[in-house]
């Protein structure tokens, strides 16, 4: 304050003015000085903390190998945590790792000797130095697949089955879409919006659920909304940049290809999350890889292909461009499956699900104007029916894969 007043006085007293950057810098320096002296003095007047230390550990990754269980834990509480002993199913076990206190936000790998039996449930309790227990459930013990080339190949195949192929198939509706009258096309666009709306809600809910299970120190549920905001704003920026470029070149009417690209990106982000979930589920043994599941996913995701081509019914994109759109939307499922199976992290997954939801929301905003016919207010019954049909379609095909 004093420095600020002195500067102001100088400015008034002399003919010259302090440069703007200096005026911006002074409060910043004062903040740094205040924080520095506050912490250097050890927070004067605050006294000691009351009560026992707050011990929180989040288990980020569980790997089961014959005769051993590996847990990667992260301290997401305010105080260091010492894991003194480990109990598995009510028996003390020997383990390696976490020899000293685990500091805030740092992580440790515990390697626990346990002759686990396939298909059985285990409860691992970490007994801390203060006597607290942090327990972790392993609902079904199955060996974690080794991350070798064959495994990544399988995950890629899975990603192609559930992501790339169905979307490519869905895009084959393009010739048909070109033939139908504009009113019906609007209904089809409404159907697309319905599909996307369902996906946005679904991704948000799943993200919130994952965030709740993961480490809270990185923001928990806030990550989902952060992800959504980032994706929404990023896509808004990209789309306005694209439309500016196009306006400079050709005239109007070139909005559709950009829109298709945005939809592809949005669906791609969503499929990244979907692949992530599939990869993780497979690794933890929660996923039975059956033909039924793949068929279910295929039906479900085919509708996503339709969503991409609906806005470009009037234009004539090249085959290569269509293939690129399909890959942008579908291929992230492969990437997601790889990440999910090898380095899953709830916080990252929650952020990605949020990003998927945000991207889709942005696409919906972009598509919304096309649902209205020229000079009309409100939505046509046909459009409303399309919206509802989209939701219903996603809901019912979703049932196929949530048996």
């Amino acid at each position: 304050m004093e420095a600020g007043q002195a500067t102001a006085g100088d400015a008034r007293g002399t003919t010259g003015r302090a440069p703007a950057w200096l005026l911006g810098l002074v409060p910043l320096l004062l903040i740094v000085a205040a924080i520095g002296s506050f912490s250097a003095l050890g927070g004067p007047g605050l006294g000691e903390r009351r009560g026992p230390p707050a011990e929180e550990l989040a288990v980020e990754r569980t790997v089961l190998e014959p005769g051993r269980i590996e847990l990667t834990v992260r301290n997401d509480g305010p105080d260091p945590v010492s894991v003194a002993q480990v109990v598995v199913n009510d028996a003390f076990v020997s383990f390696d790792g976490a020899g000293g206190p685990i500091g805030r936000l740092s992580s440790e790998k515990l390697v626990i000797a346990q002759p686990w039996i396939e298909g059985e449930a285990y409860e691992v309790a970490l007994l801390t130095s203060s006597g607290g227990t942090i327990t972790h459930e392993i609902p079904v013990a199955v060996q974690t697949p080794a991350a070798d080339a064959g495994f990544y190949g399988l995950m890629a195949l899975l990603g192609i089955y559930v992501g790339v192929i169905p979307i490519a198939l869905g895009m084959l509706w393009l010739p048909w879409i070109r033939r139908i009258p504009p009113a019906w096309l609007r209904a089809l666009m409404a159907l697309t919006v319905g599909l996307l709306g369902f996906l946005a809600i679904d991704a948000t809910l799943e993200g919130v659920e994952l965030a709740g299970e993961g480490s809270q120190a990185f923001g928990g549920v806030a990550l989902v909304f952060l992800g959504a905001a980032v994706a929404y704003l990023a896509l808004t920026g990209v789309s306005s940049w694209l439309s500016q470029r196009r306006h400079a070149g050709a005239a109007a009417g070139a909005r559709a290809p950009a829109l298709a690209l945005l939809i592809a990106v949005g669906i791609g982000l969503h499929n990244l999350g979907e692949g992530l979930a599939i990869g993780t589920a497979y690794t933890t043994g929660a996923l039975a890889l059956g033909a039924f599941l793949v068929v279910g996913f295929a039906l479900h995701n085919t509708t996503e292909g339709l969503a991409i081509v609906a806005p470009i019914a009037d234009s004539r994109p090249s085959l290569g461009r269509l293939a690129a759109l399909g890959l942008i939307a579908g291929a992230p499922a492969v990437l997601g499956a790889w990440i999910g199976a090898s380095a899953f992290n709830n916080s990252v997954a929650a952020f990605l699900f949020g990003a998927g939801a945000g991207a889709i929301a942005q696409v919906i905003v972009q598509l919304a104007p096309s649902l209205r016919s020229e000079g009309e207010r409100g939505l046509q019954p046909r459009v409303v029916a399309g919206l509802l049909a989209g939701l219903a379609l996603m809901f019912t095909t979703g049932l196929l894969v949530s048996v």
Partner: protein, 376 residues
Amino acid sequence: MVRPQPLGRGRRPDPERRGKIFRYAIISLVIRLTRRRLLSAVPAAGLGATALHTAIPHSHGSANAAEQHAGAAAAASLGHAGGGHAAFRGREVDHRANGFDPHLILRDFDEGKVSRLANGRTLREWTIAAAEQEIEVAPGVKFAAWSYNGRIPGPTLRAREGDRLRIRFVNGGRHPHTMHFHGIHPASADGVAGLGDGEVPPGGETVYEFDAAPYGLHLYHCHVRPLAEHIAKGLYGAFLIDPADAREEADEMVMVMNGFDTNFDRANEVYAANTIGFAYSEKPIRIKRGELVRLYLVNVLEYDLINSFHLHGNFFDYIPTGTSKQASELTDTVMLCQGQRGILEMRFPYTGKYMFHAHQSEFTELGWMGFFEVTD
């Protein structure tokens, strides 16, 4: 028993939602937290973990069973695996810092300050002080305990049938405490609230005086509300009255079976005899072959309904409550509820190491096990 705890955050996988796993993985990263979370007043959403267990189809007949077995052998080399038995990880508990060692408590009998009354009877006097002290109940695990005379269990008070006993009790804790003796005595010396001096306030003291009767193995413990907490924190000990005509000479030892609830969920995290789990398996109790061993066994375990003692490679004569000279049973396993106790007498015909433990396997692997090492 590590009881399933209320959720701090996250969710336990709900069986009904398991289907959803197929679409978006509901990963098993379910974190349930302890008192730290509870302190922040998260309402408990207690669901049994067993429900989960039953809801999951079990696929037995594992294809990689052989592989798992091989892996188990490999994993045995992990850390120090306690010779294949359950064990704590890391160094021993710091007995010096604790102020007591289960190996010393084992054969430590306190006969008090002995004098003779005018009528010729023996008078035994003790001063017992309650205190609050932090002890290490397992390597690296601290527990805020309450103790009699700085040790858990408290001193083993030993008298002879018919002696006059005078116990001065000083409360050095921050909560009211008492000493409640099992035995035959007037109500005023019972050490419960509202009788005699009742609860002894912090800094206060009282004297319990009564005759030693009946002969047998008894116990004493604090009897202040909340009872479970006052006992579970360590306020108990063995109280032994020898018959007027002494029992046969023997290698005598005391084991007070107890446990500790370190996370205050009213279930024990650690089980033991004489407080420190695995103490007698890390370092076996040495005894001589053919020598009569007399074990005074008391169960004070809180929160669990029963406890037990099982001996390997041998049988013992069992005298319930020690109130007879005739054994009631030759057995290798006895079951005791809280407050129950008895005398075990045995001789080992062979040398070698013989395990003893609670025959609740869970208690065994949570600390309550040990070895006799028999030598010539």
